[in-house]
Symmetry: C2
Subunit: 241 residues, 2 copies
DNA sequence: AATGTGTCAGTGGACGGACCAATCCACGCT
DNA sequence: AGCGTGGATTGGTCCGTCCACTGACACATT
């Protein structure tokens, strides 16, 4: 029973530039490279890593976009920060193992955003929310799940909170949230209940009542989380640094 | 007088791949590309954008690492999500214009993390915090600012909160936070006061008292924010979508 | 007709080399 | 010593080539 259960899996799929990102991370640690210090030249790095400069530059582009390194034309490649080198939210979120953490983060962010929305929402925001609710009603009336309207409503709330940083962070969780949304709304009678919950959230925001908006959003998310966590199986034997 | 007024400025320095990320975002909008749809082949995209395939592939690597697209070997490039296409937290944070938003996000995250830490912290976490406090004491006693110890302490709290997703998000704000930290601690007598504030936070976490931990952290951050916002000049004429 | 199989055009993956552009630095001039 | 200049270093971009994977189509088999 100790044999590999999937002997015919599609072979070690790997993106070279992803490996390089990790290898570069190891390099930072091994050489104890400090923040502000310079990496070896691209050509040397490429040679030492046994890859072409083009591939290496893909990895560097990713790391630069991520803010981990700074690349100066004619100057060199410099380390900006080493904490969490190469870590990307998108990858973190994709691991089903992190569902509880994602839900915890979601509740924190979204409840606050609803609270802020109750204070900062403008007419355009309210209009967007009304539109989303209308869309949801139509979908539910046609025995649909109403996922599209649901997503649109939450997005409208996020925008109404008027904090681009928080909005961006929540966008990063979009994938994982989308899945839980579908799971939850597939539950019998959930779409109708969900519609009502969204109406309560909207009322509070429209009435400029932050505490009520926060409470309504929290209650709504708890419902969704319960379904998601119920179906969630904690994976075994996950080891990581 | 219609000539270029700054003929010798370092030229509009732009990373080609960054432009491409934006141009690809425009492409998604212009062509109304839907989630799941396929992009034109790399070779065609490169030609139409007037760049080499190598440069295009740098942009694609960034977008893939960000989770916006999926690249299948032999299959093509597919759109995974369009919301916030090409937006990177790191860039968002660098704009000084967003300081209030960053601080708002920081308080939300860090207060919660302190609260969680009060419940979930293990012995190793407490040891790390003690170490950071000791480091801070030494620095302050030597008339230093104590930034290193400060950063180490907060990092220890983040880890103690046992939520990798939230931890990762706060890491993304690290740059901006680091600046405000220095500004704040440069204020006369702040290092000493800050040390005391950190001790209060630690006591609460060690005593497993979530509400007190949250309150202590909130009070501490408000102090820091005040200094930062006082020195902050809201930029004029910033327009964006 | 249904099914399996081979082929092949299309597409991403990676490489090496070439040349340009910005920066850095050592050398020589004043 | 101070300064300017030019070469060496290093990143920026492009091109052409070849490999590996995918999917669809034509063909053979049953």
């Amino acid at each position: 029973m100790t044999v590999d259960t999937s002997p015919l899996r599609p072979l070690g799929r790997t993106r070279l530039y992803e490996d390089l990102v990790e290898r570069l991370g190891e390099f930072v640690i091994r050489t104890n490279l400090e923040v502000g210090a310079r990496f070896p030249p691209e050509r040397e790095l490429a040679t030492r890593l046994g890859v072409s400069r083009a591939s290496l530059r893909q990895a560097l582009a990713v790391l630069e976009a991520q803010g981990f390194i700074e690349v100066r034309h004619g100057g060199g490649v410099f380390l900006r920060r080493s904490r969490g080198f190469g870590g990307v939210l998108h990858k973190l979120v994709e691991r089903r193992a992190r569902l509880p953490e994602v839900l915890e983060a979601r509740e924190l962010l979204e409840v606050r955003l609803a609270e802020l929305a109750a204070t900062r929402r403008g007419d355009a925001d309210l209009a967007a929310m009304r539109g989303a609710l209308t869309e949801m009603e139509a979908e539910v009336a046609a025995n649909g799940l109403g996922v599209a309207g649901d997503a649109a409503f939450h997005h409208a709330v996020h925008r109404a909170g008027k904090n681009r940083v928080l909005e961006h962070v929540i966008d990063g969780l979009a994938d994982a949230i989308h899945e839980t949304r579908i799971e939850s709304l597939s539950e019998p009678d959930r779409p109708r209940a969900s519609l009502a919950a969204h109406r309560r959230i909207f009322d509070a925001i429209e009435s400029a009542d932050p505490p009520r908006a926060a409470a309504a959003m929290r209650a709504h998310l708890r419902q969704v989380s319960d379904v998601a966590l119920l179906r969630w199986q904690p994976p075994v034997g996950e080891m990581e640094g």
